[in-house]
């Protein structure tokens, strides 16, 4: 990394899908899309790679990098759109979706509504308040994820942003 433009990291918001990987009893955060190997390692930063093109992620002329929105509003609109599309809905059930804030650093490309970054690590998980009644089992799972990644679990975005 050359001389940094800024000291610190960017905070964004994003979603994951929680999954159990083969040989692992606990839940992990993974990309909500369909790349099976894109688990976020607990306790270690995730570094972006670009397999389709092999560029230095995030590259300006590519779509690679670790994504996050700037505002929770945009994130929730995105997820609602995802779940209104029957073809995409099959990817995962809604209660397996995990929302949270992430630290982004290294090379970061700022977009109109978010970021693509070189490095990332979760800063905390947000449980939609209504989920406590709709999906009672989710709270304990989020707590387990929080302990595994050593991050807080909250019900208000303001506690993370």
């Amino acid at each position: 990394m050359d001389t940094p433009d800024r000291v610190g990291y960017v905070v964004g918001v994003r979603w994951w899908r929680r999954r159990r990987l083969l040989g692992d009893d606990g839940w992990v955060l993974t990309s909500p899309l369909y790349v099976a190997a894109s688990a976020w390692p607990p306790g270690r930063p995730l570094r972006a790679m670009c397999l389709p093109r092999g560029c230095e992620a995030p590259a300006e002329r590519c779509r690679c990098g670790i994504y996050a929105f700037r505002d929770p509003e945009h994130l929730l609109t995105h997820v609602q759109g995802w779940y209104s599309d029957p073809e995409l809905f099959a990817v995962t059930t809604i209660e397996r979706v995990v929302f949270g804030a992430v630290a982004l650093w290294g090379e970061v490309i700022e977009h109109e509504r978010g970021y693509r970054a070189e490095y990332a690590y979760p800063l905390g998980l947000w449980v939609p308040p209504r989920w406590r009644k709709l999906y009672p089992q989710v709270e304990a799972i989020h707590r387990a994820l929080g302990e595994r990644y050593r991050i807080p679990v909250v019900y208000e975005w303001e506690e993370l942003l």
């Binding site: 990309s31 894109s38 994504y67 490309i109 991050i151």
Partner: protein, 43 residues
Amino acid sequence: MNIGEPIRRETYEPITLPIEQEPVPAEPEEVPVPTEVPTAVPA
């Protein structure tokens, strides 16, 4: 995720990282959904 058009590129170097371990290289973290860019899906 549709995050719009790029605005600027900057390098951030944290004084203190959220965690202190070495980074783990990842598969492409964001592969476009099938309706967007099918050619970007890894083999």
